[in-house]
């Protein structure tokens, strides 16, 4: 090579979206606002620059004002927002920025950034961690001004004239929705996991992504040459020539594999002895329904509905929800669409929310617990779902059920929603299948009670593994314990499947476990009626199912249940099905969970 290159550097993260890309990095500042540029302002333009800053602050104020006006009950929140409004005009922030524009002849963004970084460094030197956090109010406020000031941040990204790999701390739905995805070869983020918004977007647009890298934004510089391997979760900075050649070849191999597998994605997933497994798609955005169909999904096994509730000043209205549900239902035609009700703490999702901070939100007021506490909000969603049900094949699913009474209560509210629709004379369908997510150990052990109330169970393995094995999914130090094949998990799955069969209801699985080829023989043998995965995994899951004989999976599962460790279960899978799996999956995907 003609120029001396920096040393090759390898970062390991989470493989959020498969594929390989090689290209130049484009760094996005951590606030989600594009890297702040510095430029000088001519004397005759200075007045205009000052005016530009002032009107950005004015817009920020208006934004806060409308939030305050729209939240009469939340006095606490209104109070802190009033404080933020006062901060917008604070002389150390507002006044100082104006002074810098005027005295240093720089653009408003740069002046603001200078002021804020100075303030941040003052707070950083404080010893008390609590005191340090006070800077967050200032950061919130300056972000708000910056957003209003730049406004064109996305134009900056859209203005990229070559294809790049986007490097960011994290990308919010707002960020990703404004990016021109045509120009993005790959995504790299410091934060997030497989289920992060970036991951979902990347998968639905088939863009390779590695997330959860922690220090990508501090290690990678714009214009650096990087390789993103979304299959293994590896990022290579300044690759040497050998590595480049190796990855060019891998990239071609992967694309060939993908082409083959996509061609046959519409073939049914029937085992060699004639059992037809339904392979459904998990989606989050209504647009993903297209991918679900293209990849041969037999329906939607999990439609996550949180997205419409996030990062906005107020909750979506019934009509807005109805329209997006209806879109999805209509595209799928007669195929089932399983809509899961809100699975977050809604109040915390709102922009500028300053609700009670839960020490342990995963064990806190979320999902069905939140909805049962806020029946009015819940009812809006239920009405929208029942209305959409009139246009196709809808199933309703309640998340995070941990006690029997929660199902009864949820169904009572559902009845009330139906009654109110009847009264309003709106078309809807009440006679739909109702199910629950099995993702809390208490629901597993009381599955026989729960079964009386519902038409189906859907096992959410991501949460179930976390709750059953007492592992914080985000905690790297205990991540090694997070094993889908843990004997405890297998026994729980078996129990739920047995109860479902016994009680005559269906049992499905949604969650990463169902998307992993080497889990398929076990899931078949346990008697799952349906698997639901991200759309992109459907072809490979179907392919693996087509190569297995159902009858043989029963003794195999019996054997698997006798194993004492996840490792031994894995070995058993490899010894029994290794060849089939190697023939039908991309080589990189057959490995023990990390």
């Amino acid at each position: 090579m003609s120029e001396p290159t920096a040393n090759e550097l390898i970062l390991k993260g989470i493989n959020a979206s498969p594929g390989i890309c090689i290209g130049k990095a484009y760094l996005v500042d951590k606030e989600g606002v594009d890297v702040v540029e510095k430029y000088y302002i001519q004397e005759d333009k200075r007045e205009a620059e000052i005016k530009r800053f002032k009107s950005a602050v004015k817009r920020a104020q208006d934004e806060l004002r409308s939030i305050v006006d729209n939240s009469p009950e939340e006095l606490q929140q209104a109070n802190i927002l009033e404080t933020h409004m006062a901060l917008l005009k604070d002389k150390m922030l507002y006044g100082k920025t104006l002074t810098i524009i005027d005295s240093e002849h720089v653009n408003a963004e740069w002046a603001l950034k200078t002021v804020v970084s100075n303030l941040k460094s003052i707070f950083q030197t404080m010893t008390d961690s609590y005191l340090k956090e006070r800077a967050s109010d200032i950061v919130h406020v300056s972000d708000l001004i910056m957003r209003n000031l730049v406004g064109a941040k996305t134009q900056d990204i859209a203005a990229i004239d070559k294809r790049v790999i986007l490097v960011a701390r994290d990308l919010s739905p707002a960020d990703t929705s404004q990016i021109n995805l045509e120009r993005i070869m790959g995504f790299i983020t410091d934060r997030g996991g497989k289920a992060s918004h970036t991951g979902i977007i990347a998968r639905s647009f088939e863009i390779p992504a590695v997330v959860g890298l922690e220090n990508a934004t501090t290690t990678i510089k714009s214009e650096d040459l990087i390789i993103v391997d979304g299959n293994t979760g590896t990022v290579i900075i300044h690759p040497n020539e050998e590595t480049l050649v190796e990855y060019e070849e891998q990239k071609i191999r992967y694309e060939e594999y993908k082409a083959v597998i996509t061609r046959e994605s519409h073939v049914q997933a029937t085992t060699t002895d004639g059992f037809r497994m339904e392979v459904m798609a998990n989606i989050e955005l209504p647009e993903e329904v297209v991918a679900a169909r293209n990849y041969g999904g037999d329906g939607i096994g999990l439609y996550r509905t949180e997205f419409q509730y996030m990062n906005r000043p107020e909750f979506p209205g019934e009509d807005e929800l109805f329209e997006s549900y209806k879109d999805v239902v209509e595209v799928m035609g007669a195929k089932p669409v399983t809509i899961r009700t809100l699975d977050i703490n809604g109040d915390k999702a709102l922009v500028n929310s300053y609700g009670y901070d839960e020490v342990n939100p995963v064990l806190g007021l979320r999902a069905i617990r939140y909805c049962l506490k806020k029946p009015d909000i819940f009812k809006i969603q239920l009405r929208a779902i029942l209305r959409a049900a009139a246009f196709g094949n809808v199933r309703l699913m309640f998340p995070m059920i941990s006690a029997y009474f929660e199902i009864q209560l949820a169904k009572k509210i559902l009845d009330e929603a139906a009654e109110s629709l009847l009264k309003d004379g709106l078309p809807f369908k009440r006679d739909i299948d109702i199910g629950i997510m099995i993702e809390v150990p208490s629901a597993v052990i009381t599955a026989d009670l729960m079964a009386k109330e519902v038409d189906f169970f859907s096992i959410g393995t991501n949460d179930l593994i976390q709750y059953a094995l007492a592992i914080d999914r985000g905690n790297k130090r205990v991540a090694y314990l997070y094993q889908a094949l843990d004997p405890a998990i297998l026994r729980m799955l078996k129990h739920v499947a047995d109860v479902a069969r016994d009680k005559g209801i269906k049992v499905f699985m949604c969650g990463e476990m169902a998307a992993t080829p080497h889990h398929i023989p076990i899931l078949l043998g346990m008697g799952m009626d349906e698997l639901s995965t991200n759309p992109q995994s459907i072809p490979v899951v179907k392919r693996v199912i087509r190569s297995i004989k159902l009858e043989e999976t029963h003794p195999f599962v019996a054997d698997a249940l006798k194993q004492t460790t996840a490792k031994n279960v894995f070995k058993l899978v490899r010894d029994t099905y290794g060849e089939i799996l190697a023939d039908h999956t991309y080589s990189g995907s057959f490995k023990l969970d990390q």
Partner: protein, 104 residues
């Protein structure tokens, strides 16, 4: 000119035109954004500058940000300083707010 009751006298120091008063931060959260905002709001109508001093550092009491940089946690002593005796009511009001723990 300055209207000080005898009970307040022991707390208040007059030096030239300036008036000083020490108070101890008692609320759990210390001087955070919201409490600082309450102070800054009071100071908006002052005739002359109002300062909050902690140790050697002095902050402009009309600026939330400046007050925050003093990092006053619970138990710290601050000095409220007014430069014009006409602002004595503001000084008293701030002291009262601190004493009443900002209504938290």
């Amino acid at each position: 000119m300055i209207n000080i009751t005898s009970s307040e006298k022991e707390n208040i120091v007059v030096s030239g035109k300036s008036v000083f008063r020490d108070v101890i931060i008692k609320n759990e959260l210390g001087l955070h954004a919201r409490s600082a905002a309450q102070i800054a709001k009071l100071v908006q109508n002052s005739k002359a500058a109002v300062w909050i001093k902690r140790g050697d550092e002095k902050a402009d009491a009309s600026s939330i940000v400046d007050i925050l940089t003093l990092a006053c946690e619970k138990g710290s002593t601050i000095t409220i300083i007014i430069e014009d005796p006409a602002d004595i009511d503001i000084l008293k009001a701030i002291a009262e707010m601190v004493e009443s723990e900002f209504g938290e």
